[in-house]
């Protein structure tokens, strides 16, 4: 038998719950990589984790590395031997280093020459010898934002480490890992288990921990148990869990022995805004809210204890007590916040610095208002509501409720605006201007919300760019990429037909820095946004090629909506049978025109068209131009390209029968003019010469 299962467990104090899953996965991945690099064979790899442990089980791990031959290269043969054929000092030195006579050296040949060489067989080492190092190596590169020390030691880890298991088959590897001598002793639940638990073999790890230790070490199984447990508990109350997905991972990372408990709170708190109740339960307490079949909140919740309590009633009433005081706090804010109208908080926004160099939050809302009004005018909307919504958009940041529940920004703004008698459009836009908050989040539904959301993001982008700050690598502290992607999504998916460059110029013009209008910084932001645009299109349509995107991009369509239409048209065009030869013809025309230094402003003289093929192409061209003009105006790009596809035959015939670069200058210029117009016609949609069509 030369294989056995391998188990490593790192026993710790309570690990950070939000990081637990990624620590678990990274540990297993890193270890697998290290084992592979060490040439140890292995089977399936399993990752486990609980609040007090990270573990990896590797099935059928080889007990021994294979032997391998390692070649050491010596001097080149030409310098290893003198003209007399005797070894030079270089050769003798190499042989001495290898500990053999020169005659025992071999030779290695490559295309560059021949070298003296020595082959050593490196004995494979026992897995037990190298595994501790591989484990340390895997632990060193875990994604830990901040490592800590404890006691008077120098070891660093996520949290203090108390025990380590290294078990290969039934054999314990007694080597130091993270400053602790590894063994085969684990520990169970803090309360339900005491003393050490002997793990006799890797295969019995999960069972021993569960049966003797009251720990479910398998993260996924624990999570599944939590889901079924809380679902059953909710059913007891006559409702079902809502918003569970956002909590299951975190709760699974907070308990080793999950025990769901149903609790109640006073139904008078159901008169609070729904989001407030849900936030109180989920964000602050990690409790699961419950709703009835219609989705109405019920005055119950499920909490998951890490204990089979001797008296569950006390755990339940303790948790109910906490939620009671939290909800009382929220009710207090709800009452006091509404004593002042939202609009009267605007002055106080002056006191809050938005960003050094970009003024206060009040200044920011003014800029957002200006941009939003500009957008509304362009879109033929009434700008009163967006202007008002902009003025109020950040006021809720100063309310007690948002101070306590920052995640309710915007949502509370809507509630308070409604309470003040603001119009629905204004209230709604205040909430929606934060959308989308993350990748894949919903978009504002109202036009006012959309306009405000775009204005908000453009102000951030132009403001931060004007300070000379950018996103780089994985550092994007101002969320610039997210802001730009938000703009892209709203403009396209909500159908806002806006000239992006004009919008960017406007956003810079209102920044306090003054030097706003420098063209290159505006261009830089345009490129930044269109980079997100490329990513956006590629994500939306995995079949899209970068060349197709670039074919449209070179035209720099003013509106992203227009961009989208061109892109779709070009993709449809690419599927036509004429596409391939037209793309090739366009490339050929582009080359010809380039060689002729891209003559400009030439006009076609019909009388100089001598050949039948060029006359035919000319009349097809004129015909196409006439048909395409209204289609272009209507942005019916797919139909435009459909029309242009008919030009394939005349173009092909032209190139088969007509020579462009003839000696007669007038004829040549005339033909260049013909091709120029032809190319311009295609370029009205996209530069299809850039496309590579299979």
């Amino acid at each position: 038998m030369n294989k056995a299962d391998f188990l490593v467990e790192i026993g710790t104090e309570e690990l950070p719950p939000k990081a637990l899953r990624s620590l678990m996965t990274a540990f297993a991945e890193n270890l697998t990589k290290a084992i592979d690099e060490a040439r140890l064979e292995h089977g399936a790899v399993h990752a486990y984790a609980s609040p007090r442990r990270l573990a990896v089980l590797v099935e059928k791990l080889g007990l021994q590395q294979d032997d391998r031959t390692v070649q050491q290269q010596g001097p080149a043969v030409k310098i290893a031997f003198g003209d007399d054929g005797k070894p030079t000092p270089a050769a003798t030195a190499f042989a001495r280093k290898c500990g053999v006579a020169i005659g025992e050296l071999s030779r290695s040949k490559t295309s560059k020459g021949e070298w003296l060489a020595f082959e050593v067989v490196e004995k494979g080492r026992a897995a037990a010898e190298i595994l501790p190092g591989l484990v340390e190596q895997a632990l060193t590169s875990l994604p830990i934002p901040r490592r800590m020390r404890w006691g008077d030691g120098d070891v660093e880890f996520v949290r203090p480490v108390h025990w380590v298991i290294l078990l290969h088959g039934r054999k314990t590897i007694k080597a130091p890992v993270l400053g602790i001598t590894a063994g085969n002793q684990s520990r169970g639940h803090r309360v339900h288990s005491s003393g050490d638990l002997t793990i006799s073999s890797p295969g019995s790890y999960l069972d021993t921990l569960e049966k003797d230790g009251y720990v479910i070490a398998d993260f996924e199984r624990r999570r599944a148990l939590i889901i079924s447990g809380v679902t059953a508990a909710a059913a007891e109350s006559g409702g079902s869990i809502i918003d569970g997905e956002s909590l299951y991972d975190e709760v699974a990372a907070l308990v080793e022995w999950p025990v769901p408990l149903l609790g109640d709170f006073d139904s008078k708190y159901l008169s609070l805004p729904r989001e407030v109740v849900i936030s109180t339960l989920t964000r602050h307490q990690r409790y699961f809210p419950i709703a009835d079949a219609e989705g109405n909140l019920l005055p119950h919740f499920v909490t998951v204890a890490n204990l089979d309590s001797k008296d569950p009633g006390q755990v339940r009433s303790g948790n109910e007590r906490v939620i009671r005081s939290r909800l009382a706090d929220a009710a207090f804010f709800w009452d006091t916040d509404r004593r002042i109208v939202l609009a009267s908080r605007q002055d106080a926004l002056n006191e809050v610095v938005y960003q050094h160099g970009l003024g206060s939050l009040f200044d920011r809302t003014q800029r957002i208002g200006t941009l939003a009004t500009w957008l509304a005018t362009k879109l033929n909307m009434n700008s009163d509501d967006v202007d008002r919504a902009a003025a109020l958009a950040k006021c809720d940041l100063l309310t007690g409720m948002v101070g306590e529940f920052p995640e309710l920004q915007g949502i509370m703004g809507r509630y308070y605006a409604t309470a003040d008698g603001e119009t629905d459009a204004v209230a709604c836009a205040i909430e929606e201007h934060y959308l989308p908050r993350y990748a894949g989040d919903k978009l504002p539904a109202s036009k006012e919300g959309q306009v405000l959301a775009v204005a908000d993001r453009l102000d951030t982008l132009a403001g931060i760019f004007s300070l000379g700050k950018r996103a780089s690598g994985n550092r994007d502290p101002f969320g610039l990429r997210r802001a730009a992607l938000g703009v892209v999504r709203i403009l396209i998916e909500c159908g806002l037909d806006i000239d992006l460059k004009a919008l960017i110029a406007k956003a810079f013009a209102i920044q306090p820095s003054g030097k706003a209008v420098e063209a290159d910084i505006a261009d830089e932001l345009y490129v930044f946004v269109t980079d997100r645009l490329r990513r956006y299109f590629l994500d939306r349509d995995p079949g899209l090629s970068v060349e197709t995107f670039d074919a449209v991009m070179v035209r720099q369509p003013a509106s992203l909506l227009d961009f989208d239409r061109r892109l779709v048209a070009v993709q449809t065009f690419a599927r036509l049978e004429q596409a391939k030869s037209l793309a090739a013809a366009n490339k050929r025309i582009a080359n010809i025109l380039q060689k002729a230094d891209n003559p400009d402003g030439l006009s076609i003289n019909q009388k100089l068209l001598q050949e039948e093929a060029e006359q035919a192409l000319f009349s097809s061209l004129v015909n196409a131009q006439r048909k395409v003009r209204p289609l272009l105006a209507a942005r019916s790009y797919a139909e435009v390209l459909n029309e242009l596809a008919d030009l394939r035959d005349p173009i092909d015939r032209f190139f088969d029968n007509v020579m462009v670069m003839v000696d007669d200058d007038k004829v040549k210029t005339n033909r260049l003019a013909l091709l120029g117009e032809l190319r311009a016609l295609f370029l009205d949609v996209a530069d299809i010469s850039r496309m590579s069509i299979g």
Binding site: E13, E14, L15, P16, P17, K18, P51, R146, M148, R149, W150, G151, D152, R159, P160, H162, R190, V191, L254, Q285, Y287, T303, A305, N306, L307, S309, K310, D311, G313, Q314, V315, S317, G318, N319, R321, V322, I323, S325, A328, D329, F332, E351, V352, V353, H356
Partner: protein
């Protein structure tokens, strides 16, 4: 309900006495509160300065703590501008520090086989002090009752060895043990001389001090106090007198909190004030370290000479 509420719940003062007893038996120096205004037990030199340098040190004490902006004129059942923390520091942090803590809960009547006690990630960072540590808030059936921190850096200096800090929120803990809904209803003591509540002792103080903090504190005088304390602290640092300099810094820090409550400091200025305190804190920590070093770190041998505990 099957709950077994202890027949006579611990009074507020009994709670403190039990904790004192427990940590004294563990071997901690039982210190007394520091006689300066401060925002938390961490500011007591027995924590903040003793965490610096190689000398071992273990102490426990009650620290009255002031947070002027938390005042609610005695109207809020959960918030006070003056409250108590029970603070324990253990340096180097023992291997079984979590078990020691759980044992202390047992000592005040909280059985971990009945109650759901959890260590939930919560890290501590004080920009004002140039200090940070990693640890948890401890939950008792979902309620935060304790902050638990392994200091990693104080005043910009690496903590070697590491100090483990445990800060109990005494009022919260007592409210839970006594099952009352308002801090002011807490039983402070019920003895032969009468029954006294937390409110009997502190309610008037909350009302009047809130008025002072929010409405009456003399802003101009406070600005002067801040400047003076900063200046004096610097002068004392230059004379290598870390301990008196530290007191001046505490004074500056509390003055800043009062100015904050009076809303006399704008957001931009706020940052500047924080940086000024931080600069002091940094120099004081360095001065303190140097002064202990000059003395040859006299407490380095204390553990060897001391009587083994437990």
């Amino acid at each position: 309900m099957s709950s077994q509420i202890p027949p006579t719940p611990l009074s507020f003062q009994d709670l403190i006495i039990k904790l004192q007893q427990y940590w004294a038996e563990c071997g901690c120096v039982i210190m007394q509160p520091y006689d300066k205004e401060m925002g938390a037990g961490t500011f007591h030199p027995a924590t903040f300065l003793r965490a610096i340098g190689p000398e071992p040190w273990s102490a426990a004490y009650v620290q009255p703590s002031r947070r002027p902006t938390d005042g609610r004129y005695g109207n809020n059942p959960f918030r006070l501008q003056h409250y108590y923390q029970y603070q324990v520091v253990l340096k180097p942090s023992p291997d079984d520090i979590q078990e020691m803590y759980l044992e202390s809960l047992r000592a005040i009547g909280i059985d971990s086989a009945v109650h759901d006690i959890r260590f939930v990630e919560d890290n501590w960072e004080s920009p004002t002090l140039g200090a940070w540590g990693l640890g948890w808030e401890v939950w008792l059936n979902g309620m935060e009752i304790t902050q638990f921190t392994y200091f990693q850096q104080i005043g910009g200096l690496e903590c070697r060895p590491v100090t483990g800090e445990i800060s109990y929120g005494l009022e919260r803990l007592a409210m839970y043990l006594q099952d009352v809904e308002s801090i002011f209803d807490l039983l402070w003591t019920d003895g032969p001389l009468g029954r006294i509540s937390y409110g009997d002792i502190y309610h008037q103080n909350e009302v009047e001090q809130s008025k002072y903090n929010f409405e009456l504190a003399d802003v101009e005088a406070l600005f002067n106090t801040f400047d003076h304390a900063e200046h004096d602290a610097q002068r004392l640092i230059d004379l290598d007198l870390a301990l008196p300099a530290y007191e001046q810094m505490l004074s500056a820090s509390h003055t800043f909190n009062l100015l904050d409550a009076r809303q006399a400091i704008s957001v931009t200025e706020r940052q500047r004030f924080i940086l000024r305190i931080r600069a002091l804190s940094q120099s004081i920590c360095e001065t303190y370290f140097a002064s202990r070093e000059a003395l040859g770190f006299p407490m380095l041998d204390s553990r060897v000479q001391g009587r083994a505990s437990k």
